[in-house]
């Protein structure tokens, strides 16, 4: 059973307020005010002059559990929202692997679940490790991207992306943060939804994510009330309030505190929120919690994982 061994994150110190981003992106005053007033987005992190490689390394180097265990790492995965983030032949995941002394690991990128790709990468890593027959083997999952284009800065009417990164060490089996269930709902009809049918996607979003969350809880053999905490994607607060109403889950048990501080940190949200939950002792041994993510781009993906801490 896939397990999370350790998580570390890096969030740049520089915060950019939504008003300044709105000016840069050419948003109307009303659009910016809606972001702040109803979506409760306030600042996003930015690391100008810091490359994607350095962003990922900043998170990985905070991973104390990696030091001395480099020889156990068989796979390095970079989970990305955007399929293309650097010009060929630059390969950030190979550069990061070399810099960390993980030359023997198989390094590759996972994409096409958009902002839910972080969960896909964890699932893939667990399956690869389980099939390898080495109980001590580890996988390093990296998330985080540069907000380098308009599409990588803004989800119109929904969210603003922030820079940051996370590094997660996973094993095929382990005593804590065991993955109990994974549910994915892929919706190909929302191909290129941001430019052709944003309203259709927004209408479908709450029910599709709700169904996925409930499916993951069911697969874990649990009831929703047994989920102590939801670690969300940090798209915006209003979307989560509506989702909570739909599934009758208290919004107070969704860790939304990072939304105004970081914005939507691509695939890293789940890990950023996990670290916050641990730092605040919100997870006790044996607690069940759920991680949820949704992404849109070339099709839409709704994902949820249930863990036991």
């Amino acid at each position: 059973m896939t397990a999370i061994e350790a998580v570390a994150t890096y969030l740049p110190e520089q915060r950019v307020p939504v008003e300044r981003l709105g000016d840069e992106l050419g948003l109307s005053t009303m659009e910016v005010r809606v972001f702040r007033r109803f979506h409760e987005l306030a600042d996003v992190c930015r690391a100008p002059g810091v490359s994607l490689v350095d962003l990922l390394l900043a998170a990985a180097r905070r991973l104390d559990a990696l030091r001395g265990s480099e020889h156990r790492v068989r796979y390095v995965l970079h989970a990305r929202t955007f399929p293309v983030v650097v010009p060929y032949p630059v390969n950030p995941v190979h550069e990061v692997s070399r810099a960390l002394g993980l030359d023997d690991a198989l390094a590759f990128t996972v994409t096409h679940h958009a902002c839910a790709t972080g969960l896909l990468a964890l699932d893939v890593a667990g399956r690869l490790l389980a099939s390898g027959g080495e109980p001590d083997a580890l996988a390093l999952i990296l998330t985080g991207e540069k907000a380098f284009t308009r599409d990588a800065q803004l989800v119109p009417g929904s969210s603003l992306f922030g820079e940051g990164a996370a590094a997660c060490l996973a094993s095929a089996d382990g005593p804590r943060d065991r993955l109990l269930a994974y549910a994915v709902n892929q919706r190909g009809e929302f191909d290129d939804e941001l430019s052709t049918d944003p309203a259709g996607f927004q209408d479908e979003y709450p029910s599709a994510l709700a169904e996925t969350i409930l499916a993951a809880v069911d697969r874990a053999g649990l009831r929703l009330e047994q989920i102590g905490l939801i670690l969300p994607h940090n798209v915006n607060i209003l979307a989560w309030q509506r989702l909570c109403l739909r599934i009758a889950f208290p919004a107070s048990r969704v860790l939304l505190d990072n939304v105004p501080l970081t914005g939507h940190v691509f695939c890293a949200d789940a890990f950023v929120n996990y670290e916050t939950a641990c730092a605040r002792n919100l997870l006790r041994p044996g607690d069940h919690y759920l991680v949820a993510a949704a992404g849109a781009g070339l099709g839409a993906t709704f994902s949820a994982m249930v863990f036991e801490h």
Binding site: F38, D203, R242
Partner: protein, 92 residues
């Protein structure tokens, strides 16, 4: 100078919605009534309904508690007015 309102009646909200709607629809509206459907008749999206809420907050000098708002509340001018009149921050 206007005074911030502690309460607004549903009728005030209906009237105000009809007044501010042209700003949200960019003027593409002749007449709205309580039964006008915000999405089907006026083509409002999730984003533009939030802009409408903000216009209402400005016009009526109120703050709306949106935590409990659902898609059904945006069905017509009337349903939105009912929600707004019953969900003012500072009233609870």
């Amino acid at each position: 100078m206007t005074t911030p309102l502690d309460t607004v009646t549903r009728e005030q909200v209906v009237t105000t919605i009809c007044t501010v709607l042209p700003r949200v629809t960019r003027g593409e509206l002749a007449v709205a009534t309580e039964d006008t459907r915000l999405m089907e008749d006026l083509g409002l999206s999730s984003s533009s309904t939030l802009e409408l809420m903000l216009e209402l907050e400005d016009a009526l000098e109120i703050q709306i508690n949106v935590e409990d708002i659902d898609r059904d509340d945006f069905r017509t001018v009337g349903t939105l007015a009912s929600f707004v009149a019953g969900h003012l921050l500072g009233e609870e």
